[in-house]
């Protein structure tokens, strides 16, 4: 019986929710097509994570555990994935779309002579591969694509599928792996600006995004306050990551992250298509902008036309009231 293999991303021992979304989708497809759904965990703490993954219903769990996977380094990860594919012989390997999975997707495809689809928003099995949908042209339109071959490799946008819990007594199988440090040509020296315990943007239920309209300390303070009232993740437009006000990891959009929260509040953001590409799938979109013709109002459910410096104080105050009730 052929296998659909889902890569489970684990950072600092924490499982990325979006990879559980992908696993849930693969479980569903496996049931439909009479296939096996398996999870693959490659991490320094893979066995710990495997216990947790059982609650999400895979038929099997494969682990590769090695200290080298504490941080993302592409060469060993590639080697590990390659051995896992050789052993499991899956017809599909699906990843949540992250900077790490995007880093290796192409190389893995070249290594396995396999078709790859990046950043899909939907996927379906066919007789000899996969059919999928991908947003293109800065997410202005959707392309329906087909990949033929085995295994098909794909990364899936966060928020594309719901996570379904269903406990299983999946067997856990460790795949043997070794990596000679001497083979490491590129070396990781340091990680800076590590996210720490901040809220992960791509998984946040509420996202506050700040743009060029936020001009000074006072503005930034209001953003922080709003975020803490709503327990929200803070993101930004390129205007503010480029100028160094926010860390580039907080950029939302075509170059940056894709978010799909329940609530997105864009503050002083014009709504350039490249930004919109990263937030259009939010459930409720609120925009605060003083320009009534700003393009963001074309997609906002609630468009507040006004100076953010005048709108935010009463907005925050009212939300505090609501929260306290």
């Amino acid at each position: 019986m052929s296998t659909l293999l889902t890569f489970i991303s684990v950072t600092d021992g924490k499982i990325k929710r979006s990879s559980l979304e992908v696993l849930s989708r693969c479980n569903e497809l496996a049931a439909e097509h009479g296939l096996k759904s398996a999870a693959l965990i490659i991490s320094d703490k893979a066995s710990e994570a495997s216990e947790e993954v059982k609650a999400y219903g895979p038929d099997e769990i494969y682990t590769i555990e090695d200290p080298i996977f504490k941080n993302h380094i592409n060469a060993p990860l590639l080697k590990a994935l390659s051995s896992a594919i050789e052993q499991v012989k899956p017809q599909l390997v699906a990843f949540a779309s992250t900077e790490s999975s995007k880093d290796i997707l192409g190389a893995l495809a070249a290594n396995r002579n396999a078709p790859a689809l990046a950043d899909v928003s939907e996927f379906e099995l066919t007789d000899n591969g996969v059919k999928a949908k991908r947003p293109v042209m800065a997410s202005k339109i959707i392309s329906a694509v087909e990949a033929k071959g085995s295994p098909v490799l794909l990364t899936v946008r966060s928020g594309s599928y719901d996570v379904a819990e269903s406990s299983s007594d999946a067997s856990v199988e460790a795949i043997s792996f070794s990596f000679d440090d001497a083979d490491l040509k590129a070396t990781l020296k340091e990680i800076i600006g590590a996210a720490g315990d901040k809220i992960d943007l791509s998984e946040a239920q509420t996202v506050i995004a700040a743009g060029r309209g936020v001009k000074d300390e006072e503005g930034l303070k209001m953003i922080d306050e709003l975020a803490s009232v709503l327990n929200a993740g803070i993101g930004a437009s390129r205007a503010l990551t480029e100028s160094g006000v926010y860390d580039p990891s907080l950029q939302i959009g075509q170059t940056g992250k894709v978010v799909s929260p329940q609530l997105y509040i864009g503050i002083g953001i014009s709504g350039a298509i490249q930004h919109v590409a990263g937030m259009i799938n939010s459930k409720v979109i609120v925009a605060i902008n003083k320009d009534p013709d700003a393009p963001i109002f074309e997609i906002a459910d609630y468009g507040i036309v006004g100076d953010l410096y005048k709108v935010l104080p009463p907005f925050i105050e009212e939300l505090k009231k609501v929260k306290n009730n």
Binding site: S100, A110, A116, G193, L263
Partner: protein, 256 residues
Amino acid sequence: MKIYVCIKQVPDVNAPLQIKDGELIQDADRNILNAYDASAVEESLVLKEAHGIEIEVVLIGPEKAKETLRKALAMGADKGTHIISDELVNPDSFVYAQLLAAFFKDKEYDFIFCGKQAQDTDAGLTGSMLAEFLNLPYATNAVGLSLDGSTLTVKRQGDAGQEIIELPSPGLVTCSNDMNEPRIPNLKGIMQSKRKPVDMISAADLGIDITEEQIKTRVLSFEEKPAREAGKKYEGEPDEIARKVAQLLDTKENVI
């Protein structure tokens, strides 16, 4: 020292487009240098200015794409190779990477720069595919670079933060547009670009014959995105509208 930069011509996503019977109709004249590749060219030029490196750009594309190659030369690259791709009907990233790999097979270089993704399809595959084909160490999504001797220090935007990676020569880097503001060619640059050498070769010259059936991924059709209706715009007294929307988010949307 020598750096190659792989550049692609892409349709301008800001130009009007239309879908008819599943086909995408775009203004064939609105093609531009992929923004991420422009950043890769810019970064190579910054290194060239500091370290005196030779910069060559490589583009696979139809005859008409030569203006994009000229643009990179006008920015300051020293020479170009244009791999004419007319006969390839619908190449995907894999095909481009194969062609590029064939081109680089017998070349000498220190680094290859690519864009992190093509602006129109956002695939982001070619760079790391090429690295694997050429068996090169690589780093993707670079947001900063510096050169020390023959080692490139790459700052890449990762999931956990910014990873600082040391990449020995030869190696490959894919560049984000977050690392710089690409220069706009000046008049001298434009004039000089006309005299810079451009090699024109074909896929056949590279000994590669790709047939439609071999292509692993292809686009079946294009669809409109389900339209997102504009909601209500609130104008007027800031205090009033701010409170009003805050309440609605709670009572009507239930997202607070």
